[in-house]
Amino acid sequence: MPKDSGIGASSKRREDLRFLTGNGKYTDDVNVAGQSHAVFVRSDLAHGRIESIDVTEAEAAPGVLKVFTAKDFEGVGGVPCGWCVTDKHGEPMQEPKHPVLAEGKVRHVGDPYAVVVAETLDQARNAAELIDADITELPAVVNMKDALKDGATKVHDDLTSNLCYDWGFVEENKGAVDEAIRNAHHVTTLELVNNRLIANPMEPRVAVGEYDPWKDEHTLWTTSQNPHVIRLLMGAFVLGIPEHKLRVIAPDVGGGFGTKIFHYAEEAFCTFAAKALKRPVKWTCTRSEAFMSDAHGRDHVSKIELAMDESGKFLALRTDTYANMGAYLSTFAPSVPTWLHGTLMAGNYITPLIYVNVKAVFTNTVPVDAYRGAGRPEATYQLERVVDKAAREMGIDPVELRRRNFINKDQFPYDTPVAVTYDTGDYHATMDKLLEISDRDGFAARKAESAARGKLRGYGVAHYIEACGIAPSNLVGQLGARAGLYESATVRVNATGSISVMTGSHSHGQGHETSFAQVVADMLGIPEEQIDIIHGDTARTPMGMGTYGSRSIAVGGSAMVRATEKIIAKAKKIASHLMEASESDVEFANGQFTVAGTDKSVAWGDVCLAAYVPHNYPLEDIEPGLEETSFYDPANFTYPSGGYCCEVEVDPDTGKVDVVAFSAADDFGNVINPMIVEGQVHGGVAQGIGQAVLENCVYDENGQLLTGSYMDYAMPRAYDVPMFTVDHSCQTPCTHNPLGVKGCGEAGAIGSPPAIVNAVLDALNDFGIDHIDMPLSPQRVWAAMQDAKSGA
């Protein structure tokens, strides 16, 4: 029977009331007395040499306080990169400077080279038109393989080439992998593109900087998934402001999906300018600006080779990927194609030998970084596409081929050949569940029904694994991370028994205010309503690393559990004193402290009051007060997994793909709030459908962004997606965190694209088409059918 509160209950979200009534407080709703407005002037060229920028006329325009250019930032640090990847020769990656405002050259469309700050937004916009910038256009490098050719134009003149790094993983295995592929019974080869995407949270980025000269204190309100990370990066590396003089607040944030992890130049600018002008400075990104300044996602070009024996058993896997970094290194960009991608190439399968090569390339495009899934969708897409192709080539049913190679449940913990250890999983169980909820047995009848209407119906599956709960600090430190990846929680019990929990995790749609309270309420046996979750403000929460990589419940939630355990331990001591009993005899359940074998009891509220009004209190043994903090550093990643199935109908006359059914059978381990978890899967799958069928970020050969608005970039709308069938009843709890949770935020976006593409190719089976690159637009599908018909 479903629970009605605590862990496992679909508690309704407490944050909803303010959002439903228009009372959410997002960063653009923040207005500070005396604020001025910033407008960024951005390059409309992909690559150019800045000869001069004349701001005289703009500075004289009505209301203008100042026009800033790179010369105002002399002595200020660049926007830092938080991860250093070491290449296959043991050398560090090439790391260019990323100035707050472009110095000497502009390197992508959207690269800012000046900022107008004025009394009003309209005045700033008017003045921005008056800036006279003389910029000489230079040849642009857009295509990654061209960028690596000898003599290619360099994005950064001070680097030796456009190659950021050439990474081999595991380099020592390369010879064995090559040999296994050379000698295998069958090798399936596939070349594919993981299309470039733009995250597009519905709330564009905003930054408001304020400076108090009397206290020498800076405040930045920003649309961030991790305010402490922004404080650390901006304070320490860009502006040189110590943490105790810098407060970063991320209030209600309207979606992130990765793109609000990173520290952006606009945040540093508003903080810097507020001090320079002694005025608060606000910047609100327009959507058009977002398209050319938010970090993009994906953009990998890969070749995959899978070697098998006669029975279809996997022997070796070799992949070769070009990963676009864009013009500068965004905060976590180098880690995405490497440690978040190569380590997942084993998937759910026993493949004894794996080698992954990744060449990260600078181009004259917007920086590319983590987007929902970050590296793991790219790995899953390669693997689940090549497995489907292999099944076709080997004449083995695609589900059967997967099953033959699955890691069995009795093989966990399982050490992959790509450096990670899966703790738990049961892939046959999720596959069984998937076939059940997607009604595979009924597919033939549905296909016939579609055919009667002139439509081609296809059924495609994919099975994914991801590494979440990022991450063990000692491990990521060895891999190049320049920060720890623990999480923090402070549980503050107030005198009358209510509780404030301060977490370093950040909620921007995930419903932490509800689900985190469920965890603490469950542990203490008190109503959820007595617990408040506080997040998003460096002045109110302990140093924490924020929300990304499906880490909040696994790492942030675990920190909360540890802090609450300390609370319970101390409360028991107080209770034992109040009841004049031995501490070891005190039991705690349902908000009551009791002494075993007696009728003695004391309520939660009485213990809390005693802690703060210690008239009758064991002061000789323990301090007054009831507040505990924990920093939790995970022992391993968590490994959610699952099977996804898509059914499509393809119109043979137009090539239009309709996703008509989608099923997801996930193993997230234990689940705190099923309603919220299902919502996360729905949203992830919709983004996966977007990637597979609709969305594509396109540059022309000159580096012009052709998809710079919602007129050109196709966001999924309500009519583009079906009702999803989702199930999370297969649960193999994580063995190394106290909640047994694995995380659910990214799964939908990871597992769905290959299922969709596999379904379309199944629908087109009679055409003998091996592959079509995403997005599967009508034009691409139609062209593939025509080529197949004409034997091209």
Binding site: K12, R13, E15, D16, L17, R18, F19, L20, T21, G22, N23, G24, Y26, D28, D29, D122, N200, P201, M202, E203, P204, D252, V253, G254, G255, F257, T284, T286, R287, S288, H508, G509, Q510, G511, M675, I676, E678, G679, H682, G683, G684, V685, A686, Q687, S709, Y710, M711, M715, P716, R717, A718, Y719, V721, M723, F724, G748
Partner: protein
């Protein structure tokens, strides 16, 4: 700029009167001039619907209408649809069916859905998906938005029958 226009409009039942530049967009009037921050700005091409309001009974995207065009009109935003103490059935249904995550598109979604249910009190799933096509949500995958609107339609129909 001296060519300001004299604007009179009713917003959520309250008469407003002010001078505004002809280029002032209605969304800025609401958000910056009147401090009505429920409607949000999600794009600049009228494609996302985060700014959806109701003007004289029709759904309108406030980001692409000059306030001068709305002069003399009656404007309803999410703030005029329900209050925390007295939620509209759509607001209740969105909470019950988890029809929102980050909440940024929600005011526009609900404002649009009030009109959808006036236009079509008993919509099919397809009617809802097409009727809400002007509003983008990046979080929910739309499933629970559709369910919320379906549930509110049932609730509102039965309440109407009970009243008749």
């Amino acid at each position: 700029m001296s060519n300001k226009m004299h604007i009179k409009m009713n917003v959520n039942g309250k008469d407003e009167e002010f001078l505004a530049e002809p280029r002032e967009l209605l969304i800025y009037t609401l958000r910056e001039r009147l401090n009505i921050t429920g409607p949000h700005i999600g794009c600049d091409t009228s494609h996302c619907g985060a700014c959806t309001v109701t003007i004289d009974g029709k759904s309108v995207k406030a980001c692409t209408m000059f306030v001068a065009q709305a002069s003399g009109s009656s404007v309803t935003t999410i703030e005029g649809i329900g209050t925390p103490d007295s939620l509209h059935p759509l607001q209740e249904a969105f909470k019950e069916h988890h029809g929102l995550q980050c909440g940024y598109c929600t005011p526009g979604m609900i404002t649009r859905a009030t009109k959808l249910l006036e236009e079509n009190p008993n919509p099919t799933e397809e009617d809802i998906r097409f009727g809400m096509a002007g509003n983008i949500c990046r979080c929910t995958g739309y499933q629970n938005i559709v369910k919320s609107i379906q549930a509110a339609a049932v609730e509102m129909s039965s309440a109407k029958e009970a009243a008749e």
